[in-house]
């Protein structure tokens, strides 16, 4: 309870929820006051996150950029919540979650500003909106799997009502569709969480790993901790289950606990199933083809600010989950299924772009562009190209993951901007038919100019935020699979086509062709103040992306490095056959130093061969994997196979 981060962060996350309680006390008729109070709360939250982000401000929790801290979890606090199941109220932030945390606060603030056009049940709207914000903020900070799940579901219900009550004509259909899809994802996630929980045993971690998993504060406490729990030798059945995400990561990377098979001997492992379930749950949120169809409906029916939230933040949780949970906890499954992840990403990119091309509804077009753009995120996260054949050079993979994270932030800005811009004209003329616009540039020049910036940011124009993420992801794909790389490169044509075509139909042309031409008035100052920050961010991030990478990269690289280390353990043959002498030495050093504190690990070769057969049946096997398979088959040390067999039985 004496952790300095506990109360500030708790207050920050729950401030919107507290605010919603305050709103309940306000009279329902006074909508202006209600909106202003809500906006004030979102502004305070955003202001607090900015203060945390600024370097050099001391006092209270802040995001440190100092070399030793920046790649680690910061401002961590743990409080027992439900001790029976070792469930903790446990939060923290690193470079992966913090930018998304700030983005959440930022987009929420702008979306609240865009909520002035809401006229129906304002009080209920604001209350739900603020609860939603608490849910979103919590998801990004939660480090306890159970807490994560709770926030995830907390977010779901307000969203359902916000779409279902304040939406367009088909709102109920859209809301229930959104709810069911996300519920399905949630259920799969819950199954995976429980699978991981009941197969985890903290006692197998070494002292250092316990520290890394934030189970104990420092190595000195390990003695005491081990004394407090039944030891592994004396009572092998008294497992110490955990929901701690960081500890689960350590378990997934350094022990064989999740490698046992689930149903039958020699079947798919626990982590394979957990990965698949979690991955499906997360890509529903991303959303990727083929589980994306809730998104167009939800976007089309949702009111403008909710569309902004949906596109700007909710979709990012999927990508965040994959990076925070899927990959570090289930590295083996992630490595084997990397091509699935990448294929899903490329499929979404291509399919979303084609579908966007065919839309006549402005919002639907933008929604499909989100599907396409989020495909880059999934692709970037998946490009596991650090294989032994190229000397475990993880730089390209790091580039992909960095690109994916950057794309998440950039897409948060550009897609929120696009939905806002669509909302601006929808508020005026009450339709979204792309073929019934035209000439808006002449009627609303400032709006037209802002729209150009935001839409070109979405198009991936250099100098604007969309470019960096896309180019990093696409460039990094080449070393994973040339076919996927070429396919993903072709998407730029489609992106240009649907965005330019939409611009032509809406903004260019001699005159406006739809109803209510008299309503097309210039932007109000309120709309200005929402659009301009988005434009500024789009430009700043496009011209000086390092500003964001300074926060993100160390943590991302740390995560990737850990996975590469894991992989080096799995493929020690590479060290002997390492091509590059300087690398050679380096590798041996790392491996021996890590080898001391971990159990002897070897992949079950039987399993490997089976999987490689499966991989080969998939037509376009990525080149790096092919090479890997070849090397794996070459070096089968038989005695280690039996060791693994024992472990598997125990697990």
């Amino acid at each position: 309870m004496d952790n300095p981060s506990l109360w500030p962060l708790t207050i920050l996350v729950f401030l919107p929820a507290i605010g919603s309680l305050v709103l309940l006390l306000l009279p329902r008729e006074n909508t202006e006051i209600i909106k202003r109070v809500s906006l004030l709360i979102t502004v305070i939250v955003f202001g607090a996150t900015v203060v945390m982000a600024l370097p050099g401000i001391s006092g209270g929790p802040h995001f440190s950029l100092s070399a030793d801290a920046v790649s680690q979890m910061q401002n961590v606090f743990q409080v027992n919540w439900i001790p029976v199941f070792d469930i903790q109220y446990y939060m923290g932030m690193d470079g992966i979650s913090f930018p998304l945390f700030v983005l959440t606060a930022f987009i929420s603030m702008l979306a609240m500003g865009a909520s002035w056009s809401i006229k129906k049940h304002v009080k209920a709207y604001c209350v739900l909106f603020l609860i939603l914000e608490t849910g979103m903020l919590g998801v990004f900070l939660a480090l306890d799997f159970f807490l994560f799940f709770v926030f995830w579901e907390v977010m779901l219900l307000p969203m359902y009502f916000l779409i279902g009550v304040w939406g367009g004509p088909r709102r109920e259909y859209a809301a229930i569709k959104f709810f069911l899809y996300t519920m399905l994802g949630g259920v799969l996630m819950l199954i995976a969480i429980l699978m991981l929980y009941f197969n985890s045993d903290l006692r197998e971690l070494s002292d250092d790993q316990l520290v890394a998993g934030h189970v104990i504060a420092d190595a000195g406490q390990a003695e005491a901790w081990r004394a407090g729990v039944p030891s592994l030798e004396k009572n092998p059945d008294a497992q110490q289950h955990t929901f701690n995400i960081l500890a689960l990561q350590q378990l997934g990377q350094h022990t064989k606990q999740f490698s046992g098979s689930v149903f039958t001997e020699g079947g798919k492992s626990i982590q394979w199933w957990a990965f698949v379930l979690l991955f499906i749950g997360f890509i529903i949120k991303v959303p990727s083809v083929p589980v994306h169809t809730w998104l167009p409906d939800a976007h089309v029916e949702a009111p403008t600010p909710i569309s902004m939230i949906l596109a700007g933040i909710l979709l990012k949780m999927g990508g965040y989950g994959i990076l925070r949970i899927c990959y570090p906890i289930c590295p083996e499954a992630a490595y084997d299924l990397a091509w699935v992840v990448c294929s899903v990403g490329v499929l979404s990119m291509v399919y979303g772009a084609f579908a966007a091309l065919a839309q006549n509804d402005f919002k639907r077009m933008v929604a499909y562009s989100s599907v396409s753009h989020m495909g880059y995120v999934v692709l970037g996260l998946g490009v596991w190209s650090a294989v032994e054949a190229n000397g475990f050079n993880a730089d390209y993979w790091k580039m992909g993951v960095n690109g994916a994270m950057f794309q998440m932030i950039a897409h948060g800005i550009s897609s929120a901007g696009m939905f806002f811009l669509v909302g601006v004209i929808y508020d005026r003329v009450h339709h979204r038919d792309l073929n019934k616009f035209g000439g808006l540039f002449a009627k609303m020049p400032v709006y037209g100019g802002i729209a150009m910036v935001i839409f070109f940011a979405g198009l991936g124009l250099p100098g604007l935020c969309g470019f960096i993420g896309e180019v990093l992801v696409v460039l990094s794909t080449w070393n994973f699979s040339i076919i996927l790389a070429v396919l993903s490169a072709f998407v730029v044509i489609l992106t240009a086509a649907y965005i330019l075509w939409a611009i032509q139909r809406v903004y260019l042309g001699p005159e406006y062709k739809g109803p209510h031409p008299e309503a097309l008035t210039p932007l109000t100052s309120r709309e200005w103040s929402i659009a301009v920050p988005l434009c500024i961010f789009a430009i700043v991030l496009g011209v000086y992306p390092q500003a964001l990478f300074n926060y993100m990269s160390p943590s991302i690289n740390h995560t990737v490095d850990e996975l590469v280390d894991w992989q080096k353990h799995q493929q020690p043959s590479a060290i002997a056959e390492s091509v590059d002498p300087p690398d050679h030495d380096g590798n041996v050093e790392t491996v021996t130093s890590q080898g001391k504190d971990t159990l002897p690990e070897k992949r079950s070769l039987k399993e490997d061969n089976e999987e490689s057969l499966q991989l080969e049946s998939f037509g376009a096997l990525p080149a790096p994997l092919q090479a890997t398979e070849a090397v794996r088959e070459r070096a089968p040390p038989p005695e280690e196979t039996t060791v693994v067999g024992d472990q598997t039985e125990r697990g």
Binding site: P296, N390, D395, F456, I468, V486, V492, I493, E511
Partner: protein, 791 residues
Amino acid sequence: MGASGRGAGYVATGAILGGFVLSLAAMICWIDAHGVTAGHHSDAADSGHAVLVPPEASETEASKTLETRLVSSAPIVRPVAAADGEHAESHDGGHGAHSQGAHTTTTKVAYFDDWYTLVGLGNLKITIGYYIDALTVVMFCMITLIATCIHFYAMGYMHEELEDVTDHEVTLSNGEHLHRKGRYYRFFQYMSLFCFSMLGIVIAGNIAMTFIFWELVGICSYFLIGFYIERKSASTAANKAFIVNRVGDVGMIIGLMALWGSLGTFSFGGEKNGAGEIVKPGLFEQVRPEEEGYQLQTPEGMEKRAKVMGAEDPAYTGHLLLVVAGLGIFCGCVGKSAQFPLHVWLPDAMEGPTPVSALVHSATMVAAGVFLVGRFYPMFTPEVLLIIAIIGCITLFMAATIAITATDIKRVLAYSTLSQLGYMMFALGVGGWVAGMLHLITHAFFKSLLFMCSGSVIHAVHTNEMPQMGGLRRKMPITAYTMLIGCLAIIGAGVPTIVGLSGYYSKDAILAQALHFGKNNAAWNVMFYVAAGGAAITAFYMFRLWFMTFVGSPREQHRYDHAHESPRVMWMPLAVLAFFAIFIAMPADIENFTNPAASPLVQMLEQGRPDGTGVDFSGQLAAVMMPNEHGSHDEEIHLTAGMIAFGTALSGLLLACCMYWWRLINPAEVRSMFAPIYRFLLNKWWFDELYDKIFIRPTLWFGRCAAGFDRGCIDWLIDHLAVVTRWFTSGFDRWIDQTFVDGLANWIARKTYRVGLWLRKVQTGRLRQYVVFILVGTVAMYLLATFGLTK
């Protein structure tokens, strides 16, 4: 914005003029440090010590800060080695201007470093930097000079945009013409951004930065081509330009990936650390290492990558990767320089205002593609160069034929641009680096001149159609005669072996190199004849244009009556450009006046020649030999080529005279005689229709399929799943309810009823029977209480 918008014009023009002055200063500094001639020349031999070269400033404020940073970054000057005649067959024609052997060992002078890092991960870095060599300097001067002329010209040409404009080409739904506010300021805004982007490409220190500015050029051209946003044709042309360019960009991205994935750097010159030492060799150094005498080899990284891919023969696959990289980058150039098969956007780009066309077609945009081929030249393998030559050859011929039938004055010029760009690519492809670059620069001058003259004509008669012009020479003499200079320059007019206009030098050089190439590669000899034939067609259509516009009797009297010479702000730039169109490539040395290689421009370009490209080299995959360019200066080759060029141009010119001046041949008869060919050419080889059928429609169809699949299949599935679930749950529910819950209740009720019925039989109403019941019951309770409960 009204008259106040004029300020925008002054700012933009002032900025680009400032850019020109700074570029010129840079050029002077450069010449001061390195001389005009190539490195081995005696007066340049001592230029090994570092001399600071002021940067070529872009026209923005940012250039000032860039300049100071550049000054502080202390560029490294590689030492200029003395020539040692490694290649003994050096051809030296006694001019001392250049010799062949020099370039194999002389390192060209280049300054490069990074300004800042966009993305840096581990060993991988994407930066914004600069790479300055003689080519950069020359290009900067050319671009800024032409852009300055065009800016001045545009101040006159666009004056209508200062007030409210009535656009006669746009009819509103109520039948009136569109009336809108002028957009003078916006025009200059786009122009400035356009020039900035183009200068960014030229100064780019790595290929990724080139790509960034490449895209910016694309977007600026989108804005400028679609400047009349109200016109559907303009916005469609703008979309077309951008999307077709993006098709090329896909190739470029693939090329970038191939380089990035195996070499891990984009930098041309190399990546430096804080102390200015090169920590990672650049692309050029990796492909043409200094210790190998700058000869092309498959870089180590690509062979390694090939091994990772599991290739059986890493050397072969690595070489293939290099080919893919080269072809990919060239794809981008095909898009930007509008080469076949991505040429379709350029003629439509005429929808923009004429100054834009002048800028797009001469100094920027299309020049960018050729420039990049020139810049990236060391990376191209002979196979790639052969493909470049073939593409260039097809383009130059195809575009020239289409230009014959076009009647829109700007479209004729557009196709002529295509054709000339084809010449440049062709020249680069057959090994003529200097020839291609020289043509790029001379063409920039006379093509911008031609476009501005055509703009002056359009400004006067308010139409683009040549059949409505005629005899304008008398009304607007300055325009007519400056345009004549442009026409003469583009056909390469000159006195063979003695002197000529700028085009004469560049076209001769191209044809000489083509002939040289043909002599070494008999299979590809045909390309020389195509190029020579193209020269005849060029002469024909250019003079067809000039005669139809300026000579003869007016075809539409009222247009002729309204015609007038343009104001001074418009014709002054014409005069300046005409001057350069004549003299830019001419030798300055009076003693060597007849030697084309003595021209300072050629010598400057020779200085910028990429290391190691001055020698013969052969391909690995295809049987092709790239002859070194100096071989083409051989007396025999040069004379033959010069004579053929002169003959073909003259024949084309004479034919044009016969048809359109002396009226010896009636064009209408010729047209009907070759009706199928005429239709084929008039329809531009049916490329637009073809692309519409094989690319655009299938894409849209596929898009609709995807959208339909979402609604028809996935959503159908989901919706029906929901329906089935609901039906099932409600049905199941009812069944459970009816069978178990209701059934239980009913069963209980039924049983109760039965029990009741049965019990009713007991109730007989007879008193004696009741007394017996009471008695028996009491005894039974007594017995139960006594024995049952006390146990």
